[in-house]
């Protein structure tokens, strides 16, 4: 990692720490949510932004993480740490299975297959309503959200827990894309056939990318359920497959900082516009159209293209 890239990561994470002390409690709550959702976007970005695989089924991984944590806590009396591990294992297993099958296809077919798997997962969460309570979802009681005496429903604790999860995911991907493995993913995105004819096992690399991306997304789902105390089938719906794509596109696909920027941008866009009008989705839609027209590479992507060429 070059010095300036290390500095960028340090400054970005530093800002997130400082933010807590600067902004109001209301925004602290927002940013805790943004950071957890940004973990989801970071996971999505690995597959879409760096590997060039467009999945429309990531809600499956997010929800797998969410239920992988929440169900064992709710029904099996798991403590938070084993429940989080269970979420990671579930997400890894589900993403391996989806990757194994979906990667037999490519392009549009890959999008459709992942979408169908996610829909199957969504329907399954409704079907198992006896345990998941379907759309209505269920609340994880405060008593179950305590690790070593620390109450994770407390706003301060929650903010910094969200920060640590985000920092871990962010640095993991920032490191990964600098390894030969990560560079091969970029090569596959740029020209798959060429990467194969340079001797890379393209299928294997893509499969690992799906698994890593799915597991990081699952970690986001688990963190969301744990920190905000709720798990529901809405998070498995198609909307939650589209959202990370939107965040990554807005922020800049294939940039390390893009997912956070895109998530925060979309979050506050909805937040502000719903203050102005009940037709807030119209404002959001307009913003997306404008960005696609004038900044097709996303916010960080345009910055990289126009100003800071070395942006990772």
């Amino acid at each position: 990692m070059t010095v300036r890239e290390g500095l960028l990561h340090f400054v970005l994470l530093g800002i997130l720490v400082l933010l807590f002390f600067v902004v109001s409690d209301y925004h602290d709550g927002n940013w805790a949510r943004i950071m957890v959702l940004a973990v989801y976007a970071v996971g999505y970005n690995l597959l879409f932004g760096y590997t060039g695989l467009l999945s429309l089924g990531h809600a499956l991984f997010f929800a797998t993480g969410m239920y992988g944590l929440a169900l064992p806590i709710q029904h099996l009396g798991f403590a938070p740490v084993p429940a989080f591990l269970s979420a990671l294992v579930c997400a890894a297993v589900v993403s391996s299975a989806v990757g194994f099958l979906a990667l037999r296809t490519s392009g549009v077919a890959f999008m459709i297959v992942t979408l169908m798997f996610a829909q199957a997962g969504f329907l399954l969460s409704l079907y198992a309503g006896r345990y998941t309570r379907g759309d209505e979802g269920f609340v994880i009681p405060q008593s179950a959200r305590i690790i070593a005496g620390i109450d994770f429903s407390d706003p301060t604790i929650r903010y910094f827990a969200a920060f640590f999860v985000f920092a871990a995911a962010y640095l993991l991907i920032a490191w990964l894309i600098r390894t030969p493995f990560g560079k091969c993913l970029v090569a596959i995105r740029e020209n798959e056939d060429r990467a194969r004819m340079l001797g890379y096992d393209v299928h294997f690399h893509k499969l690992v990318a799906v698994i890593l991306s799915g597991t990081v997304s699952g970690a986001a789902g688990a963190a969301y359920a744990f920190l905000f105390g709720y798990a529901g089938a809405t998070f498995a719906s198609v909307q939650y497959s589209i959202l990370p794509l939107l965040w990554v596109l807005l922020g800049g696909a294939g940039t390390t900082i893009g997912p956070l920027i895109g998530t925060a941008f979309a979050f506050y866009l909805i937040d502000f516009s719903s203050d102005l009008t009940t037709a807030h989705l119209l404002v959001v839609g307009l913003a997306i159209v404008l960005l696609t027209l004038f900044a097709p590479l996303g916010l960080a992507g345009e910055v990289r293209k126009r100003i800071v060429g070395w942006l990772p």
Binding site: T179, P180, K183, C184, V186, A187, E190, N191, D193, R194, A195, R196, M197, L198, G199, Y200, D201, V202
Partner: protein, 238 residues
């Protein structure tokens, strides 16, 4: 010593038989040109050698091992490099990274050795001073050279070049010929080429394909005089 052989190699695409029982032997350290009219099966043949698709029947033997069933990336890993007929570089990556991708695959993460080998490949192809440019910004001729550099970076035992001089200016072709002469000291080259001057000047041996079959094989002088070859190319009646 034989580096590459094929035995009874056949490939059909639907009803079209692109290769028909091709027996082929390539000695180590030679430059072999593969020529033939359009549609003769040249690209299909090297595609079959590299594993870009499955053959219908027959065998490919590389370094004494049967590699017919190996996937493409595995064959490349054994020491075959392939440069594309239609320029296929990573447009949005730097020239350096384009070559480094090939080098890294066999040298792994040793940054210093990777850099050294990348620079060596760029030096040979004269692209060193363009290392930081995006490959997509290079002129066509330089992109062709980058294809060669990417192959060289892999340190191949066998370097397959599919029409490397296609679309190059005459001066660039001359430079390429010089490059080819230096490369043949390090690696074995299988060259698909339409430019007869390059073929006649550089190749030690020539294999002529026509309708998916080997029509003739031998040193340039002999091939030039071969009536069957003349007939295939010019349609002259003998």
């Amino acid at each position: 010593m034989t580096l590459l052989s094929t035995r009874q190699l056949s490939k059909s695409f639907g009803g079209l038989q692109a290769l028909r029982n091709v027996d082929f032997d390539l000695e180590r350290g030679r430059i072999r040109a593969l020529i033939g009219p359009n549609g003769a099966g040249k690209s299909t043949f090297v595609g079959a050698v590299c594993g870009r698709f499955r053959v219908t029947s027959g065998n490919v033997i590389f370094n004494g091992n049967d590699i017919t069933r190996l996937p493409a990336h595995h064959r490349i890993g054994l020491g075959i490099a392939y440069s594309f007929q239609i320029t296929s570089v990573f447009d949005r990556l730097t020239v350096h990274e384009n070559v480094a991708l090939g080098v890294r695959r066999h040298l792994k993460a040793n940054q210093e050795r990777v850099n050294k080998q990348v620079c060596a490949a760029l030096d040979k192809t004269g692209l060193r001073n363009r290392a930081d440019q995006l490959a997509g910004d290079l002129s066509y001729g330089h992109q062709r050279l980058l294809e060669i550099a990417m192959g060289l970076g892999q340190n191949p035992q066998l370097f397959i070049m599919d029409e490397p001089t296609q679309g190059l200016a005459e001066s660039e072709v001359d430079a390429f010929q010089d490059l080819l002469q230096t490369l043949c000291q390090e690696t074995t080259i299988l060259l698909i080429e339409h430019n007869m001057k390059v073929v006649m000047d550089c190749a030690d041996d020539i294999t002529v394909l026509n309708f998916g079959e080997v029509l003739a094989e031998g040193p340039p002088a002999k091939i030039q005089k071969n009536e069957k070859v003349q007939h295939a190319y010019f349609g002259t009646q003998t």
